[in-house]
Amino acid sequence: MTKEEILKTFQDKFPGKIEEIPFVGVDVAFKVDRELILQVCRFAKENPELQFDLLACQTCIDWVEHMEIVYNLFSFEKRHKIAIKTSVPRDGHMDSVTPVWKAANWHEREIAELFGMTFDNHPDPRPIFLPEDWDQGYPMRKGWEGKDFVRLPEK
């Protein structure tokens, strides 16, 4: 499928909700509302024209005013790849996509622990990397200061 066809398939299903954005390294990237994310992801996986069966990467960007969750998807059958973005308020919560891709389980645990996000209906919302007795907040947030972390001056 071409870039336009992929975008149109999503736009037909979710009219007025898909906003294209620039992104290097994928065929097409767009933004959706966070309330729709589970529906959009399920559609991306289950639609026979799209078949995005691989959640290649899921991550979070802290833009200080809000957080942005990014899903990088790929289809082995159709050989196309997209990125989906959704914006979430800080300390906000959103649906887990673990029912769609099991791979999201660990990615979401990582995001929840390091960025302080909450994923609803996550099957296993334990911390993943940090020590059990960690009490110094969410280290991947912008502006986080820790004992061993010194912000270098920028030239």
């Binding site: 069966d53 082995f76 660990w106 990397f129």
Partner: protein, 383 residues
């Protein structure tokens, strides 16, 4: 379960009249010789049988992504060596490629050839470590010694090129840091010829060895659908029969100029994961051979500005690492020397997440084999 039944299953040597079984929890690791690093496996056991496993990771978490937000693009390259220290060249390559895509920098042809040679030599070195330790976990000590003997030659080649044997810091945005020394090409060609029969040697010891077959055939089957659901990539995915390799399907660098095959498995058991990697070593050697013959003269680096500031934007660029898809997701604000955000998508992280699906119902001794066959590198998981 297995094509190669174990003797104890055929004729029970001991029987008990009254057997009470009780499930119990046991820890394997974090310090355990067969976890290849510091990984803790929390096991729910029924006698010798694994009922469930919970991998507990994070012992090597160094917050490399946080460090990246505090370093310039160039300063972060040595940190990529520490993501997957066994294939540091490919990690270097991944980061540099992502930044090049973002800043639209062309890489000179010679540099691309050098990168491919380094990547593939590093792939062989990594598979050699894997093969050695995999065989060691099963109880074969000889292959370990053989593998490290050959790996030594590759490390010598790396040392010749960049002065380092493990953490290379060799590639740069726009090329590589220095040209190949004149003695490299003859030595590398010598190695290619030297290595060809060595793979047969490993195969002679292992491939049809009845003990090896008994321990690996049919053990730890990972269904293709489950593998994709967990985002398992690389040799572990190819062992399920899916012919998918980024070097072939999405050729980056100059991989489209070389003739090589993508080995795949059929049963997606531990033996298939073994044979796929064995054949990958041969294919990597083929690529190195072709690249050494056709490497052009010329520049080794595109000049970038001394204070390097990529334009505003974001990129997700992936590369076929030894363990699967390695992705670098970079967000640049523009007019800044440091990235706003770097996400490292490491293959081992996703591959390890699929472990519980493979080990349920197998004995604890098989768990060791299955874990080893996944080729997980803990710093790659924890980052």
């Amino acid at each position: 379960m297995s094509d190669y039944p174990r003797s104890s299953l055929l004729t029970p040597l001991l029987t008990v009249e009254k057997a009470d079984t009780e499930e119990f929890i046991v820890n394997m690791g974090p310090q355990h010789p067969s976890t290849h690093g510091v990984c803790r496996l929390l096991l729910k056991m029924d006698g010798e049988v694994v009922v469930d496993v919970v991998p507990i990771v994070g012992y090597l978490h160094r917050a490399l992504e946080k460090i990246a937000e505090n370093r310039t693009y160039l300063q972060f390259i040595p940190y990529t060596d520490r993501i997957d220290y066994v294939t540091a060249m490919i990690c270097n390559h991944g980061l540099c490629m992502a930044v090049e895509k973002l800043a639209q920098i062309e890489v000179p042809e010679r540099a691309e050839y050098i990168r491919v040679i380094m990547d593939e030599l590093n792939r062989i070195a990594s598979h050699l470590i894997w093969l050695g330790t995999f065989a060691l976990d099963i109880g074969a000590i000889t292959p370990f010694l053989y593998c490290f003997r050959e790996r030594e030659h590759i490390l010598d080649l790396f040392e010749m090129v960049c002065g380092q044997r493990m953490t290379f810091n060799y590639m740069r945005v726009g090329g590589v840091s220095r040209d190949l020394p004149p003695e490299f090409l003859p030595k590398a060609k010598e190695f290619v010829e030297y290595f060809k029969p060595k793979v047969d040697e490993y195969e002679a010891i292992l491939t049809q060895n009845p003990i090896f077959l008994g321990r690996t055939k049919g053990v730890g089957i990972l269904d293709r659908k489950v593998a994709i659901d967990y985002s398992v990539t690389g040799p572990n995915l190819r062992a399920t029969g899916l012919k998918w390799d980024l070097r072939k399907e999405e050729p980056y660098s100059v991989y489209d100029r070389f003739d090589f095959d993508i080995p795949t498995g059929t049963k997606s058991d531990s033996w298939d994961r073994y044979i796929v990697r064995i054949q990958e070593m041969r294919q990597a050697n083929r690529i190195v051979e072709q690249a050494l013959q056709s490497i052009p003269e010329g520049e080794i680096k595109t000049k970038t500005k001394p204070v390097f500031k990529p334009p505003q934007g974001e990129a997700y660029v992936r590369i076929e690492s030894t363990r699967g898809e390695m992705g670098f997701y970079i967000v640049s604000e523009g007019e800044k020397t440091i990235p706003y955000r770097v996400k490292i998508r490491s293959a081992s992280f996703s591959n390890l997440a699929a472990l519980p699906e493979m080990v349920r119902g197998w004995k604890i001794a098989d768990l060791v084999v299955i874990f080893a066959s996944l080729d997980v590198i803990m710093p790659d998981v924890d980052r």
